[in-house]
Symmetry: C2
């Protein structure tokens, strides 16, 4: 247990007490909860003890200090250990909180949640996500360092540590992210692989026999192996020290451990996901000299961790001094960075949003989106764009944008670059964008792919929403109108899927002003991710649109004043709004009907408007028919009748497809007519919004 | 161009003509379509020519011959080349079909679709899927070989070839599948990597600089590299021959090619996704001596491919002879295999389905599912179960099940085994299950994970549905009731997502008979995948349930006869059905209301019932309120009012969560009361099913 590099410190009996205390706390927590995962914490306690004794963290200021080291527990089920360490360090997690592990309204939930628990950077548990989050955090550090560091001012020089297990190592999202991190040469990223050879199904021999370190070498990582991670704290320390010294590569350290170390079931899957039985707990305590009283923490353990925390506090103090000196030398950079650290957007940024008049030419909303990005990029240096290998299709890049690339590598760019080449790695892109958004300094990741392929990243999108992260998806080719690529690429269920997800805004703008509105609301919604579903084909500028009205999520864009008598309301989004307006003209001319067309680019934002407004848009007395070139599911909330596509698309030119599915002015008009006849004579026809049970989105 | 192993054949000028014909056909197709991807076909034409000259395929019997070689184009955008090769071989794809590339109702869609085009084994295009499909096909071959081959009867000994590009190499789903294929030692799987160094964003140097072959070595693959794949047909041939000889490992052959070889834009992303311009087309034709008339095929090229096809036809004839001889020697195996090849299930299999009476004890539906699997496994040897590392949670294994494992490896099992240890690789599991289901021989893959993590595989689930493949997901832990694991693991939007997907059955059974019904319909639906959402907690056996009524997707399970006057209908699924029945008792006792409870385990199957039946279940005249512990979105189709959870869950014990979200008998009753009051006095209240526009699911 003697360190084998000069920088590694000496470990003694007190460290063993600390390690065993961590083990015991985790065991006690899952025993008290009668659920949870004691095995991984028991195996990883040495790793955690060594690592957290080195990290620069300030429990007092928590996530307010931007240059703190970042820690991600990708195998989030081991969170009892994380909460225990955070408690020892002095984060606002009390012993009572540990005792309330996995109970309602505790700050110690079953998997780490960034919105619930001090010291938790990102929400993890779904396997592989945390690993990719960490790559996003490391990108953020490299980018901000390149942008704001100056000689003598290493404002952003912290490390990002991520712990992952076999489960994460198997997940594709982590593989994608690891390949990317190698390409990007993220030298401040250090991953610790808890190689305990056990997954839920038992020995990993049954399913996972690849050479993980060799794979990471293939990605361009530096690799280390600690074969005796249960006991050799010095070796873990030395490996981390070597990793800290590596330049030009991320590092993975494989730490071979024993799951449930100390349990009579150690080394088996039996101690993975169930608390220890009382007799096992007893022999564990006896073996390691742990007091019988649960949740006992020896004072010397607290003392040691207070010292670690003190080092972090001092480091922050020095950083704050340095940042003050930075102000004197680089006042403009300081001002910009201070603004970003405060979380505010620059004054007047929204004045840059493009505005359109009805006479303006038709433009595809993917191009409208490009115009917004180009207009805003100078005002919003915190906005980082990118695409999952569809830059030319997603139109996510602005003129003069520099690629985020490692210095001196094969590709042109620099770490100052704000354009990310994610490759065909949608899931890693989504998860890394979560890391970017969670980093702080107001970073706003914007990432592109086809709407249909956001589904590859569904696991990450869900965590954006749950974690309240402002991530913006540029989801182009938003319907069958993408044409010839065919049904494999044409979204049908996508909009319904994301609209059913809590805390997610799904926008499908119908024209230029609506596209600007989508960005306006998305950028202002600092705790909500957004998906912008954008067209490949041109969209005419509507008569009734404006950023202001579209920012309400839904509005009457055609058909007279609010309150006027109607025969039918057509509610629609995106490219079908113009089709509805053409249908309205047919219905008025040939059938003398009064038709209102409602554009509803974002249901969630519309839902948040006052009831009076919503009822003025979708009033009682006339039937409402929805029109969208996608699954009709969910539109029943806003309409009596639905017209859409409840089957898969087809490969053909765009116009041929709209004809095939009859989503044309005449196709809409004939269905509207059916609807009017059907509801004719219905007494007191309610608005679809008038319900017995009032639901509100949180 | 001389072969460098004894088995590789000699290539001459005629081969070059064939290669250039393939290039020209692909170029002509995208030019005629004014869309498509000529670049990859131009680069891969040599590879395709060599490969398809070796494959054992019978264009006449197409997918009817079970021991044909399998081919998967994972980079599906290169399908012009595949269609061209299939045309030359004599599949039912005419020159006119090639001319109608990417047009409505043609059999040459923009990406390969197994349901549209002869010779296309699986639907590809979404990157990485095809690679994982191929792993599934190779598993199928290994399993059937181990099960049915006997000395002298190599009934299943074909190869599975998959071509993939850089995009697929980047996707996590392919990484997962590659790791698995290495573990499983699938020696009959040969992957050809089109290493053209170009992705849509340009040179792969901008995003993807890992060492792909080293990565595959880490997975346990044999690797080969052909550095001059544009011209050296002999080297491609030799590498394939070496791959064919490899034992105990899958092989990947990196074939370095030039995208758009022959175009003036060759080697750039400019020829990836756009047709060649006319002047480029002209110089290309001139350079390679290709006739000016588009779609010209020299007769000697047809002749050569007829010979290749003839070899395949002869191979099938021999196989059929062998299969006849097999009948004599192994009549029982022959009978079973013949039954499977005909696509039929064995007579009386459904009699094995467990049946329950109201008095029977409460059982979690994940355990009910386990009982079904145990009851059916002996009758249905074509059923292969498995789990993404959640065997003990998903209850996907039956007593005595043998793991599918390579012989002589570290894990216990054999290729005869019918239990697949997928590891934490949900996406690869989904995509490989598609390969298994597409294989033929009636294979029925059944795979488990938590309902919330089916989303990791959403891309594959979509392709199951589009490709009409009978894949069954055992999706356990189907609501907040999973409890302490918390919101990261608790599905909210999942059911709404999958219900909006065309051609997918989403089941959420409320008791034992409903669970049996779910399997009954899922197994009989040979062209539709199913997701079975199953509970962790116990569910009581309902009074009104039976396999027969539940097989209609929805039925009145409580509350008197069909047609009887009601005050309210509660429609629900899974664990909430029993809650609704308890609520009904409260409403009847305390408020003298007549309440019907409808259990609707599968909306899609209910939708397919005759209108009269559906209206008898959800009649007009009384309001309908839906109750489900998940997003309410989509339930508006079946109800006026919805009670559910439109926010994320929380970490706490199951009962505490039901209380928090008020999904209890009294919570349901109070909302039902509100609903009754609200609709009291409404004249002629329609059933939610009575609509102007009648939609039918295809």
């Amino acid at each position: 247990m003697v360190a084998n590099t000069s920088k590694a410190r000496h470990y003694d009996a007190d460290d063993l007490v600390a390690v065993n205390t961590l083990r015991a706390l985790s065991v006690d927590m899952s025993y008290a909860a009668n659920s949870g995962h004691p095995g991984a914490p028991m195996g990883m306690a040495p790793l955690f003890h060594v690592l957290f004794s080195k990290m620069k963290l300030n429990p007092d200021t928590d996530k307010d200090w931007v240059n703190r080291d970042r820690f991600v527990l990708s195998n989030g089920h081991a969170c009892a250990l994380l909460y225990s360490v955070l408690h020892l360090l002095g984060y606002k997690i009390t012993l009572d909180d540990l005792k309330a592990f996995r109970q309602l309204d505790s700050n110690t939930p079953g998997h780490p949640e960034n919105t619930h628990t001090p010291g938790v950077e990102v929400t993890t548990g779904p396997l592989g996500q945390g690993f990719a989050n960490a790559v996003g955090l490391a990108i953020a550090q490299a980018h901000l360092g390149a942008t704001y560091n100056r000689a003598g001012f290493d404002l952003f020089n912290h490390k990002t540590f991520v712990v992952f297990g076999d489960g994460c190592a198997m997940e594709g999202v982590a593989s994608e992210a690891a390949s990317l991190a190698g390409h990007l040469r993220l030298e401040n990223l250090i991953a610790l692989y808890d190689d305990n050879h056990i997954c839920i199904d038992g020995d990993t021999d049954s399913t996972f026999t690849e050479d993980v370190l060799k794979r990471f070498e293939a990605y361009g990582w530096h690799t280390e192996h600690v074969p005796d991670g249960d006991t050799n704290l010095g070796a873990i320390d030395a490996a981390i020290e070597r990793a800290l010294a590596v330049r030009g590569k991320p590092t993975v350290i494989k730490v071979t451990t024993t799951i449930g170390y100390g349990s009579s079931l150690q080394g088996t899957a039996a101690c993975h996901g169930s608390p220890l039985k009382m007799d096992d707990l007893k022999q564990f305590r006896q073996k390691f000299g742990i007091p019988e009283e649960p949740f006992t923490v020896p004072s010397k353990v607290y003392k040691a961790y207070q010292e670690y925390a003190l080092r972090g506090k001092n480091a922050e103090s020095q950083w704050q001094e340095s940042f003050t000196a930075y102000e004197a030398k680089y006042p403009e950079l300081h001002q910009e960075l201070s603004r970003r650290l405060s979380g505010g957007l620059p004054q007047g940024w929204e004045d840059k949003l493009p505005v359109y008049k009805p006479g303006d030419s038709a433009i595809a909303s993917r191009d409208l989106s490009a115009k917004v990005l180009a207009a805003l990029q100078a005002s919003l240096p915190e906005m980082l764009s990118g695409s999952a290998d569809l830059t030319s299709s997603n139109k996510t890049i602005w003129k003069g944008a520099v690629d985020f690339q490692p210095p001196g590598h094969v590709a042109v760019g620099s770490y100052q670059g704000r354009y990310l080449r994610w490759g065909d790695e949608e899931h890693a892109m989504g998860a890394a964008m979560n890391g970017l958004a969670a980093y702080g300094a107001n970073l706003i990741p914007v990432g592109g792919t086809f709407l249909n392929f956001v589904a590859y990243a569904a696991g990450a999108v869900r965590l954006s929403a749950l974690s309240q992260l402002r991530v913006i998806w540029i989801a182009t080719h938003d319907s069958i109108a993408l044409g010839e690529d065919g049904p494999t690429h044409q979204p049908i269920e996508a909009l319904a899927h994301y609209r059913a997800m809590p805390n997610l805004h799904v926008w499908r703008p119908a024209d230029g002003n609506e596209c600007s509105a989508a960005y306006y609301v998305a950028l202002k919604s600092s705790k909500t991710p957004s998906i912008l579903a954008l067209s490949r084909q041109g969209l005419p500028q509507l008569q009734g649109s404006s950023i202001e009205v579209a920012s309400r999520g839904g509005y009457v864009c055609y058909g007279g004043q609010v309150g006027e008598q109607r025969d039918i309301t057509l509610v629609s989004t995106g490219s079908e709004v113009a089709t509805c307006i053409e249908a309205a003209a047919i219905l008025e001319k040939s059938h003398q009907l009064k038709v209102s067309v409602v554009s509803m680019p974002c249901q969630e934002v519309f839902d948040a408007q006052p009831e009076e407004y919503r009822l003025s848009v979708l009033p009682a007395g006339a039937p409402v028919m929805s029109v969208e070139a996608a699954s009709t599911r969910g539109w029943e909330k806003y309409s009596q009748e639905q017209f859409g596509i409840d089957e898969f698309g087809a490969s053909a030119p765009c116009d041929a497809l709209f004809k095939k599915f009859d989503i044309t002015p005449s196709g809409v008009a004939s269905r509207a007519l059916e609807t009017v006849f059907f509801y004719q004579g219905t007494q007191n026809l309610r608005s679809p919004l008038q319900k017995a049970l009032q639901k509100t989105r949180p």
